[in-house]
Symmetry: C2
Subunit: 532 residues, 2 copies
């Protein structure tokens, strides 16, 4: 399969501009052919025009057809075989096992959403039946369900070249909701993006969806991203990346004549609390677990545990000794690109230069083009409290252990935490009871609370919530992982006194698909037995 | 009951500033005592501080306790008796029947939310059970539910002094979700606001909630509203009012260091389509129905039908003749205040001055201080299409009938409509089948579609959706009427591998409240039978 180095606009390659974007193999430092063009304003218009047309014509497709599209995308991604695996590895430096695992996660989540769409109850149908005899005014028949928002712009993320990129969670959930997708490929893996984009195009064609259901544009400048967000036909945006870029997209969307939702997931320090009982009982195992979580994927996860709070004392000293010993023998990972590595080094430099912060241990220097040596630093509660930059994410395989003098310090520092995706607590049952107040405080600041586990490895399931208060995300009400992500791209619409034949099947008396519906306030899958 | 003319901060009257806000009886033009102060920055801080404290301490309250609070508020409002009715009438000029009806709607919606809270399933609990044997990694136990956002700022609306004001839908839904409320009274009815605010305070005290659960501040300047939205402890905003004011609040919230959701409902022209069959069959009844809907409450409803599309011809001429005759004998209503009346007159003046727009009929001039005579104007499709201001709301008892040459014109003009709360279609079964494309187009532009009915009189029920694309609202995903409004003030949180005793009751295996939950992808009220 030869890469053509073009955008894909409604199924057709396009490349009006000069080829200026080129991936670099982060292991070898070599540029990877082909080079890709930056999307032009005309190409952006064409992609959104096609998406809008596809939105309207595609609205007649059934839930089963939409499920088939999602499943076919998964099939087509698998059919790419090792060509895809090799290209991802070349463009990202991620090891083969991780890439194969991520491909499985990507196809698995497409199929999970297909199941949600086929089941159909996600539309949250609600029916209040009429009462023509009610006084003083008759009660109307009112029926409500979720419908898709319209064309969605998805920004591929660098750190998950498959699972949060072209056919990742945002694309899967938007297509599941019934929204066409215009994806902006991440410039660090354009070849991977083209391969997956072509797989989606084949699936769109094979299942008879309008070609504008999906487009893929390349772009490396902020202007291209902003133009996509500002485009009058864009109805929502999905993004995973840095706080600076995510906030810029959010600001552009809020400043539109008609503001639209932006679901930007912008990372997190993911605080870990080591409670006293657990630290005494199993400090060594905790050190090993933390080291594995910190260094997984060269620390390039939004759920990377970048901050650890633990009670000062012998148990912590032993823990730090063990953690340092493990990290000192953990080989350097390869970071996704030189920019991420430079930011990581700068972050470590800020820690190093901060009075009251000292290094505990570092791993061996790597020998790839963009190595990241694992590192652990430690500080005291007062230094942490008074130093704002210590609250910010250092994206990479490093963590900062804050030594606390007493349990009350946990709560005092937790109150100062910004919004986070996760918080983890390691403790005994007694620890958890003794720190119930800490749990409540963290609940107010994070999206997911983990007990005796580490935050990396986000399960893709119905109950997952991968989100959190700002600056973890721009919309605390939403998740970017798990089946509830479908709700980001839908809105309610309500039909009053509509005749049966003019209602969508989801709202008809006979409930042809057997959906769970709230009928006069009661959940039921039964049809309505009302003489009409 | 003597009005004290103060703010209510966490149950305590406060009035640091000079008394500068005074209601005017719109019937007589007389000022109504007492005058109220503008909230100072310190008072705003105190209200939000108390709300934050109440949020944290109040989180331990059970759903039953929260339901009891809502019901007690309804009881306390009723206990105000005719004192409240008379004050509302004096401050708004609304007739007694309407005020009593609105009180019933207000208490009814508080009790409806109490039912939702007591039922408990609204939290959308989802549980995915663990599989420790899964390969390559064990599957964790993941449980998710909705929790309250935090302190909510509610802006009272002028046009519903009870149902969308101090104890209106926004306050009811925020308290139902578990969020404390800081309400800014509308300056047109401060006495009504004080009476209702004191009723809420009595209910808060009687049910043992922290006093900061509710505060009421007065303010008439944009600065006070913006300060409330920008306050670091505010977590969400509910607003009903003008596009200009709503957008200003939205912009302020989006520009915060940590953006927060603003649910602003900003009105709508609520297009009505008279399809040919219905117009021929029952033009006279349609004219009477439209006249009643246009003039209801002096046209001061966000669902007022301000725009009518109908096919040119004899049937329409007869319809307009009848509509004019009805309106000519419909007495003038009294508008809420001089500012609203001035804006109404200015709107009619713009129509009058537009080439291609001509008056059909007007009602008699009124004799109150702020009368609004009903009016109907008509124009052709081309004039409508090329004149942007004709697409904008004229708030008051007036409507503009656009004469269309053929059915295709309906779709052409519908494509140009901005976001609206509602669209109504009057037709026969044949009409509806012939205009299926129009229905799909409108679905994309409105929140509620009504068949053979008028948009005024919004039913408060589970299936109601009172929202719509911008500029009808700032958040197309939300409703401000009906029980689904509770979702505006909640966010998901997820617990991973938590022991039973540390989980909220909603997520425990034994499901003590019998909630509907999504367990491993299946809806059930059953407890989990898992050996743990």
């Amino acid at each position: 399969m030869t890469l053509h180095g073009k955008h894909l606009i409604a199924g057709t390659p396009s490349g009006a501009g000069p080829a200026v974007i080129q991936a670099v193999n982060p292991v070898t430092g070599e540029a990877l052919a082909p080079a890709y063009p930056e999307a032009t304003p005309d190409e952006i218009d064409r992609a959104l025009d096609a998406a809008t047309e596809a939105f309207h014509t595609g609205r007649t497709r059934t839930a089963d057809e939409r499920a088939a599209l999602l499943e076919r995308i998964a099939d087509e991604i698998e059919a790419l075989g090792d060509v895809l695996i090799e290209r991802v590895m070349a463009e990202t430096g991620l090891p083969e096992g991780r890439v194969r695992g991520e491909r499985g996660r990507t196809t698995g989540q497409l199929r999970l959403f297909a199941g949600v769409v086929r089941d159909g109850s996600w539309v949250g149908a609600r029916i209040d039946t009429a009462d023509p005899d009610r006084r003083p005014v008759p009660k109307p028949d009112v029926r409500r369900m979720l419908i898709p928002l319209g064309p969605v712009v998805v920004f591929g993320a660098s750190n998950f070249p498959l699972a949060f990129s072209v056919a990742g969670g945002d694309t899967a959930s938007a297509l599941a909701a019934g929204c066409p997708v215009v994806c902006k490929a991440h410039p660090a893996h354009p070849g991977t993006s083209e391969l997956v984009g072509r797989a989606i195009d084949r699936a769109v064609a094979a299942t008879g969806f309008p070609p504008g259901t999906f487009s893929l544009l390349h772009g490396a400048t902020p202007e291209t991203g902003l133009a996509l967000v500002r485009h009058p036909q864009t109805r929502a945006v999905g993004f995973t990346g840095s706080l600076r870029a995510g906030r810029a997209l959010f600001d552009a969307a809020a400043a539109r004549p008609d503001p639209i939702p932006v679901y930007a997931e912008m990372g997190s320090v993911n605080p870990v609390f080591l409670l006293p009982g657990a630290l005494s009982e199993r400090g060594e195992a905790l050190a090993e677990g933390l080291a594995a979580s910190v260094t997984l994927g060269a620390g390039q996860f939004c759920t990377n545990p970048g901050l650890v709070f633990a009670p000062r004392g012998d148990a912590l000293d032993a823990f730090l000794g063990h953690l340092g010993a493990v990290l000192a023998t953990t080989s350097a990972g390869t970071m996704l690109h030189a920019g991420i590595r430079a930011a990581y080094e700068a972050g470590l430099g800020r820690w190093q230069a901060t009075e009251g912060v000292r290094p505990v241990a570092a791993g061996p220097a790597g020998d790839t083009a963009t190595p990241a040596r694992p590192a652990v630093f430690t500080t005291d509660a007062e230094t942490f409290a008074r130093t704002p930059h210590l609250h910010e994410e250092v994206f990479g395989p490093a963590t900062l252990v804050v030594q606390c003098d007493d349990p009350a310090t946990f709560e005092r520092l937790a109150r100062r935490l910004e919004g986070n995706l996760t918080a983890s607590l390691h403790g005994t049952g007694d620890d958890l009871r003794a720190h119930a107040g800490l749990v409540r405080l963290l609940e107010d600041r994070v999206g997911r609370l983990i007990f005796n586990g580490f935050p990396t490895g986000v399960e893709v399931c119905h109950a997952m919530h991968h989100g959190g208060p700002y600056p973890a995300t721009t919309d605390v009400r939403s998740t970017s992982v798990g089946t509830a992500a479908i709700f980001r791209f839908a809105r309610p619409v309500c039909y009053q006194n509509f005749p049966q034949e003019a209602l969508p099947p989801e709202l008809r008396d006979d409930n042809p698909h057997g959906l769970w519906r709230l009928v006069d306030g009661t959940f039921t899958r039964e049809p309505l037995h009302v003489a009409r």
